[in-house]
Amino acid sequence: MAVVFIPTLLQDLTGGLSKIEASGATIRDLIAALDQLHPGLAARLTEDDRLRPNISVAVDGEISPLGLLEKVSPTSEVHFLTAIKGGRQSCEEDCLSG
Amino acid sequence: MKWFDYSAPSSLSEALKLLRENSQALLLAGGTDLLVQMRAGRKQTDLVIDIKNIAELNQLVLDASGLRLGAAVPCYRIYNHRDIARGYPALSDVASLIGGTQIQGRASIGGNLCNAAPSADAVPLLIALGAICRIAGPSGERTVPVEEFCTAPGKTVLKQGELLVSLHLPPPKPHSGAAYLRFIPRNEMDIAVAGAGVSVELNNGNFQSVRIALGAVAPTPLYAKQAGDSLAGKPVNDACIQTAAELAKAAASPITDMRGTAEYRRHLCAVLTARALKQAIQRAQEAK
């Protein structure tokens, strides 16, 4: 099962757990599985079937440009990241300069 | 910038006539202050009079009576003048301190004086050198010692219809030297946080006479007479220099602004006065 790291500010929904194992073929599946375990998580991570504007997802350390469509393997590490001006793709995308 | 007309008279009388007819006219020499101020809306006019075609304002004559420096002579002509570099090295220094290379291609010492900024680099040195301003106006000519020329930030003794024609510097005395030092955060292209201009005349290891003037530490460039006079007859040593430097510091009444605090500026007055005195003394000792 994939290991999902829960951001500090979402741990109120997981009873303080910072790591949760879940299974799914994509991030969308994974979030559905997480929401089964900890109801409310999906609503905090997604809206209108896409990641919320301030959330990005990293699979195995790589920020995903695909968001919910990103594929996940059973050995994957998944981070949900929050960002100030964070778009769907990543907060790193905002930090552009010349 | 609002519309203005432009005139470039070729004689002093023509310029004075234009000035008389247009009380709001502004004079253009190098333009390095004027055009910036007009663009920023700080000055407005219907007529700009370009004074660079007037012979008297372009003269640069060095003879037994000293130096006659036309008010519109750009800085580069001063520092490229070999005899000035020899006779008035501190003036060469100042001409090469104002702005950068391009600014020095246009900016004049006369303009620096007439702009009457408290931080004007040329003015403390002109005061130290005892320069006299020759002013032409509707009722003829008059002269004013340079330390009396600036009256407030941006204000001068020039009356309606008058213009600065030239500056006259007395011939350098034997065993004399002068220096101007300023402090800026960068090494070029900057406005003085504080500046000190000094001239010294030595006599057998003693100070004969000393003039000290400060920039950017008062509403106008400041003649620190007491500080200079304190050295007359005193031996040339660090203690005396330091005493004069402290007197210069005491004469300053700076403000706190983006270029430095009042306390820092006062401190710099002492530092720069001492350093400038040492440089002037060295020049005096090297002079015949």
Partner: protein, 158 residues
Amino acid sequence: MHKKVHVQATINNEPVEFLCEPRQSLLECLRDILGLTGTKEGCNDGNCGACTVVLDDRIVTSCLVLGVEAQGRKITTIEGIAEGHKLHPLQQAFLENAALQCGVCTPGFLVAAKALLDAEPNPSEERIRLWLANNLCRCTGYDKIVRAVKQCATEVNA
């Protein structure tokens, strides 16, 4: 009614006539009236040097010169530096030394540096830095610019 002024000058060795408003700077006249857009505006108050041109025998910031002041004067801009298709050695040295990044300050630097080398064939690094202190570059940190000027001076003297 305000009337524009007729100005005759020599620009890049060609006689030129134009009409301008007295309030228009030489920089505006070069760029907007004469189409010589190689001279750049960076600050419009003489502090960045991007608009440097040669006016008679001196470099100046053309933003601080009125167009009407050009009457009867000789002006050289960046467009007048190369000789036909042959780049000036300084232009070549800038390319070989990667002495430009965004390139917007480059015309000003080239005009200023050429004036230096015309007057002083072999300036020291300190002299180059002092002469060019009225030209700001934000991309290069000046290192490669100073090297290019130095290299050009050395080659021309060799």
